[in-house]
């Protein structure tokens, strides 16, 4: 029943529009799902009390290896077989910041009042989403590098193991608030939650997109 006009005036109030295509959705879940699993199993590996819940360290350790490697390799697979043009556009959108993005981030970090009205208009991604994406990518890189060092068959010198363990664990700690904040804003917080469907079906309410990402070059032009 929902009609989805892409550029017509007077769109139905419940109209939806495609925000993320299949490659973009797969890219998100290709690292998000294994990363969540790797963070959970990693926590269990660190706390002996948690691993006893599972009976043995064995299953958690193997699960951690599989999910850890998957979080690095699956995104590469999506790049190999997916819509690289669209992924490249997203990467450029995340990389390139307008002056409005800087103001957005400053305002958001220092805001005393509500989120809604003080922030400059955002593009395809707002500055918070851009920062989250960049920091998560850097975290993935370090978790992957240090994780490979700690992978059993390598047998590297102890100083390398020690520093890798420190960075691996520290990255987990720093990544947690990013992941928690991202989940909160995408799935819990009322004003931004309508965009959640975009990462499952690809489609979001047109009215929401125009309000939260009015400068998205992929979005239909305003009426």
């Amino acid at each position: 029943m929902t009609s989805t006009p892409t550029s017509s005036r007077g769109a139905a109030p419940d109209a939806t529009v495609e925000r993320f295509n299949r490659s973009e959705r797969w890219m998100h879940w290709a690292f998000a799902a294994p990363l969540l699993l790797a963070m959970a199993t990693g926590l269990s590996l660190f706390f002996p009390a948690a691993e006893k819940l599972f009976g043995s360290r064995e299953i958690i350790r193997v699960g951690h290896w599989i999910s850890g490697f998957a979080a690095i390799l699956l995104p590469l697979l999506v790049v190999a077989v997916g819509d690289r043009g669209r992924l490249r556009l997203d990467a450029a959108e995340i990389d390139l910041w307008s002056s409005g993005d800087r103001v957005w981030l400053r305002t958001w970090l220092s805001r005393r009042t509500g989120l809604e009205d003080e922030l400059p208009h955002a593009g395809r991604f707002n500055a918070g989403q851009k920062a989250n994406a960049v920091l998560t990518a850097a975290a993935l890189l370090w978790l992957g590098l240090t994780g490979v060092v700690l992978f059993p068959p390598l047998h590297p010198p102890f100083w390398l193991l020690e520093n890798s363990r420190t960075l691996h664990n520290l990255t987990w700690v720093l990544l947690l608030p990013l992941v928690a904040g991202h989940v909160f804003l995408s799935a819990v917080y009322g004003p931004t939650r309508p965009g959640l469907s975009g990462i499952f079906s690809g489609r979001v309410p047109l009215a929401w997109l125009r309000r939260h990402h009015p400068l998205d070059p992929v979005a239909p032009p305003p009426p």
């Binding site: 706390f47 002996p48 691993e51 006893k52 009976g55 043995s56 360290r57 064995e58 350790r61 490249r88 556009l89 990467a91 450029a92 959108e93 995340i94 990389d95 390139l96 910041w97 307008s98 002056s99 409005g100 993005d101 800087r102 593009g123 851009k130 920062a131 994406a133 960049v134 920091l135 990518a137 850097a138 975290a139 890189l141 370090w142 240090t146 700690l150 992978f151 059993p152 068959p153 047998h155 590297p156 010198p157 102890f158 100083w159 193991l161 020690e162 520093n163 890798s164 363990r165 420190t166 960075l167 664990n169 520290l170 990255t171 400068l215 070059p217």
Partner: protein
């Protein structure tokens, strides 16, 4: 990230994302280069203390339950390719000459405990008493749970700093640390040090231990 796609509505955009990514990666490199002590000191902060083992040893589960030791009904068997198979009680063990050595304990997962004091008989002493046959080339150490086993070549086992400790830092071993007896090999990673040892077997060739079956190196020499 290379393709510049200036969004039409914002011509003056800058590569903030790229700079943030590289800066974050560089910060990680600083930690990797010298941050080995960082988390250790973080672990001493207030509430975190409850989650960090205060004696420095992290406990890794190998079986669903740990062998218990109450000081009675405990025997150490020395068997296999020996001329004089032996069964020793804990009292017999205490009557032997006792080594008293201090070594750093290093785990292959990147943590270490400095200057641990170990007390107990040398493995070479027990081997001399059991008199290995000429065909014996290696020594296997079996824990009471039957799961945690590992091995050394006969030459490695005879080194003057390989001992079977029943005391750690001046106190009897706790259950988690391997009571009644654990193998201490100061020149190898900790996973070779079988806990709850109740059987020593002389073998014609070196057997593959518990952790080596899970990917770790048989020759666990510290580097």
């Amino acid at each position: 990230m290379e393709s510049r796609r200036p969004a039409p509505q914002e011509p003056g955009r800058q590569h903030v994302g790229r700079r943030l990514f590289l800066g974050t990666v560089a910060a990680g490199a600083v930690v990797a280069a010298g941050g080995g002590k960082l988390l250790g000191s973080l672990g001493q902060l207030g509430p975190l203390k409850a989650f960090i083992p205060q004696d420095g040893f992290y406990f890794y589960t190998v079986a669903n339950s740990e062998p218990t030791f109450d000081g009675r009904n405990w025997e150490l068997h020395i068997e296999g390719l020996v001329d004089n198979p032996m069964t020793l009680t804990f009292q017999d063990l205490l009557a032997l000459p006792q080594a008293d050595q201090v070594h750093d304990y290093m785990c292959v997962t990147g943590w270490k405990v400095d200057r641990v004091r170990w007390q107990g008989p040398l493995v070479s002493q027990l081997l001399d008493m059991a008199r290995p046959k000429a065909s014996a080339r290696a020594v296997s150490f079996d824990s009471a749970d039957g799961i945690y086993v590992d091995s050394l070549t006969l030459d490695e086992a005879r080194r003057p700093n390989v001992l079977l400790a029943h005391r750690i830092n001046g106190a009897p071993l706790s259950q988690d640390r391997g009571a009644a007896l654990r193998l201490v090999i100061p020149f190898m990673f900790g996973y070779k040090g079988v806990k709850w040892v109740t059987r020593i077997r002389l073998t014609p060739s070196q057997e593959i231990g518990y952790w080596e079956q899970r990917g770790y190196d048989v020759n666990a020499y510290l580097k």
